[in-house]
């Protein structure tokens, strides 16, 4: 534990916040609250921002840890983009498991609250919204921007995850299989995990 913390502190100039200090906890909650309404395309567009916050801005995690908790959040059952709970936990877990869980729950609530409130309004007023020109322009206009951002996110995660040729090869094969087949992603992770255990792919 302490070894990895030292590594993350050494990699950048910033210092990790003490989240048991409630003012710093509030600042973090505010960051997630203000990102919530920008989670286009199901929330994955925010991954670059999460990486920026967690690795570059606050030093909660190393890039490699970020890649790992992304994988864990993808493998875990339930709705996607619960990664925020793991980010929040990573922000405070050095202060003990209690603070880790509190911070994880707080981060998840913060990222979901604004979009949930907007969704309630949308659900109750959809019949008026559905034919509005705003709806049409929003859907058509933000779609291509979402597409560009998703490519940027995919490239970022690829870069922080893979460091040798076999690793890139596995990622490319998984990408093609994701697009061409309906095999559950859990199989890809299982096979790749075994490859990692056997030392076939390295960092």
């Amino acid at each position: 534990m302490s070894a990895s913390l030292a590594a993350s502190a050494g990699s950048a100039a910033c210092q990790a916040l003490q989240l048991s200090d409630w003012r710093q906890l509030l600042a973090v909650i505010w960051d997630f609250l203000s990102l919530s309404l920008f989670s286009l395309g199901g929330g994955n567009t925010l991954l670059n921002e999460y990486h920026h916050m967690a690795v570059d801005q606050y030093c909660w995690l190393t890039s490699r840890q970020f890649a790992e908790i992304y994988a864990i959040a993808e493998a875990a059952p339930g709705p996607s983009s619960m990664i925020v709970g793991l980010l929040g936990m990573g922000a405070a877990v050095r202060e003990g498991p209690f603070w880790g869980v509190i911070s994880g729950v707080a981060a998840e609530i913060a990222i979901l609250l604004p979009s949930t409130l907007l969704m309630v309004v949308a659900a109750l007023s959809w019949n008026r919204l559905r034919h509005s020109p705003w709806r049409v322009a929003f859907e058509r206009g933000l779609g291509p921007i979402t597409l560009g951002i998703l490519f940027a996110v995919g490239l970022k995660i690829l870069r922080i995850s893979d460091h040798d040729t076999p690793a890139y090869a596995v990622s490319l094969v998984v990408c093609v299989l994701m697009l061409r087949t309906k095999i559950s992603p859990l199989w890809f992770m299982t096979v790749a995990g075994v490859m990692g255990a056997l030392g076939l792919v390295n960092r």
């Binding site: 920008f38 979901l112 049409v136 940027a152 094969v173 990408c175």
Partner: protein
């Protein structure tokens, strides 16, 4: 509009969404959601459910969570939405917190480290596939491809953050795609 059961109470919303979450351990959340909400519990017709999916995808937020919020708020307003949200999140999120604690305390052990080194190559491939998955819908529209390309370059090469990017490119794109004279 086939026969639709009486509107669910908050407790039923919570239990129904929890059933969705439990059934989908292993994947296929939206398919399970439809099976349970439309077929088993008959809270909604299939048409209503599909409308809900459209709204859930359009608005910001994770799609499946938005769908639960849509279902909950249709029957119970804000408090119904919270009941549905708790139902779909409680068990998966608790499990995730346990996994997270396991990760943060064990990830430096050699075996876990090596397995994770493999697993992240797969999840990177999954992340890479996200863009390709929806690219087909835009490939015949040169303006859309230009917008996508500019957004990609802005983030990747010029390190523009998401919020300013969306605030600048969003209104420009909306102006370009503003419906002119067409009625649907």
């Amino acid at each position: 509009m086939a026969e639709v059961a009486p509107a669910p109470t908050h407790w039923q919303l919570f239990l129904g969404m929890q059933q969705v979450a439990l059934s989908s351990f292993g994947g296929g959340l939206s398919a399970w959601s439809e099976r349970i909400v439309v077929e088993e519990r008959q809270w909604m017709s299939k048409e209503e459910f599909i409308t809900g999916l459209t709204v859930a995808r359009l608005f910001p937020g994770p799609n499946q969570i938005n769908m639960a919020v849509y279902i909950g708020s249709r029957f119970g307003g804000l408090s119904g939405a919270i009941a549905a949200l708790l139902g779909i999140l409680l068990l998966p999120f608790s499990l995730l917190m346990l996994l997270g604690l396991g990760y943060y305390y064990l990830h430096t052990t050699l075996a876990v480290d090596r397995v994770l080194a493999g697993v992240i190559t797969a999840s990177a491939g999954m992340a890479l596939s996200m863009g390709f998955k929806i690219a087909g819908a835009y490939s015949r529209d040169p303006v859309a491809m230009l917008l996508a390309g500019v957004s990609f370059l802005a983030m990747t090469v010029f390190h523009v953050r998401l919020v300013p990017l969306v605030l600048v490119a969003g209104p420009l794109a909306m102006a370009w795609y503003w419906p002119r004279g067409e009625r649907k």
